[in-house]
Amino acid sequence: MIVIFGVFLLTLLVITAIAIVRTENLFVAVMLQGIASLFIAGNFFLLDAADVALTEAAIGAGISTVLFLSALALTSERERSKSSNKMLSFTVVAVAALVLIYATFDKPRFGDPNAPVQTHVAPWYLEKTPEYIDIPNVVTAVLGSYRGYDTLGEVLVVFTAGIGVLFLLGSGAPLGSLPQEKINEGLRHHLIPRVVGRVLIPFILLFGLYVQFHGEYGPGGGFQAGAIIAAAIILFALLEGEQRALSVIPARVLLGLVAFGPLLYLAVGIAGIVLGGNFLDYSVLSSDSVTGQQLGILLIEAGVGITVTGVLLSIFHAFAARGR
């Protein structure tokens, strides 16, 4: 049954991808891309990657679509020129695809428990997590503790990209200087989206907090929670107008969040050194090393969540402000 479902989703995914490239209307392409993301998220779920599916659904189908649409509003909705060297590009791509497909016959069998990728460090992670960290979700344990350095790097990349967008687009004109007619009303005059949104937004925020603090026990964590909370506030901005969203969380506060998240992460790392361990060694944070690990993961996940929320919202407001 799962086999049929997997093949079905993958086929739809390929069809969607080809449609995305073929259409000349960029609006259609962006919408189709949201659908493709949803198919990919479904596939991740079939492949036992619940955490990744949650992230892809929140980011790919939600925030990415909004960002592309705001960029389209600032540029243009249609492609004007024809493709360059269609035949040549198609030949190159087709040959490369054939080579890749030929290579797949040498890959280890799908789901093989003895494939090289399964016999390296993964068994150690699965075996030692209950002893060293004692949380049910191994993905969170690897993300927060075993590969904490890696995650710190990723958080700093997100931080840098956010700063980069703010440098390129500016963080927006001050609100007081805007003429009245320029103030974006959002969908405030449309009854149905407004009523539905009012009911949904508190629950999305609550779900975001659940995902943040339940990340040790179920699928979730800072990256997913940050994306979900940002999505809820972006939804609020779309429904009530950007200005109202900015009066709830001002741009200055967002900038503070962007900086505070990585600082919190780094502070937890340095606390490890100060208390006599290594950088990002959480075992020394508490008298009991397992409790210390759990505390460290909780804190760095909070740092990750704060960074992701701050960066995604700052990027959204930077694009929205450019349109004024």
């Binding site: 086999v3 997997g6 993958l10 995914l13 390929v14 991808a17 080809i18 995305i20 490239v21 960029l26 891309q33 993301s37 492949l47 036992d48 990657a49 955490d51 990744v52 892809e56 990415s64 960002l67 592309f68 600032l74 540029t75 243009s76 492609e79 004007r80 020129s81 493709s83 360059s84 269609k86 791509v93 490369a96 695809a97 890749l100 797949t104 890959k107 799908f110 789901g111 093989d112 399964q118 993964a122 699965l126 209950p130 049910p136 979700n137 993905v139 690897v142 590969r147 990723e154 997100v158 980069g164 390129l168 699928p219 990256f223 997913q224 992701v308 960066v311 990027i315 694009f319 450019r322």
Partner: protein, 117 residues
């Protein structure tokens, strides 16, 4: 299972190349970024496919669950890569918006023409 496994890899190859085609052949910069996103998604799909173990479940210990788990490591790598991906895509879109403001177009060939003048 055999066919499904190969099918996942084939979809990876096709998706990767569809994305690459958009990057090479299309002249619209937003379309190129969309192609890049597809390319990226294909890589994510490959990683997660390789982490799957027969009869495994999500790597979360539960009271009643089985003790065969899929590989958590590729999941961690891709989880963070998705969030990094959206941030870098946003940076790319920011550059496209600035180009539009400077040149009045987001078509690669028109930008080149303006530059050569």
């Amino acid at each position: 299972m055999e066919i499904l496994g190969l099918y996942y890899y084939w979809v990876f190859a096709i998706l990767l190349m569809v994305g690459l085609y958009a990057v090479i052949a299309k002249r619209n910069l937003v379309k190129k970024l969309i192609g890049l996103t597809l390319f990226q998604s294909a890589v994510f799909l490959l990683y997660i496919t390789m982490g799957k173990v027969d009869d495994g479940t999500a790597p979360i210990f539960s009271v009643t669950g089985s003790n065969i788990f899929s590989n958590p490591l590729p999941q961690v790598l891709i989880l963070t890569a998705i969030v990094v991906g959206i941030s870098t895509t946003a940076l790319g879109l920011g550059i496209v918006v600035r180009l539009k403001e400077e040149y009045g177009t987001i078509e690669e060939n028109e930008i080149q023409e303006i530059d050569e003048r």
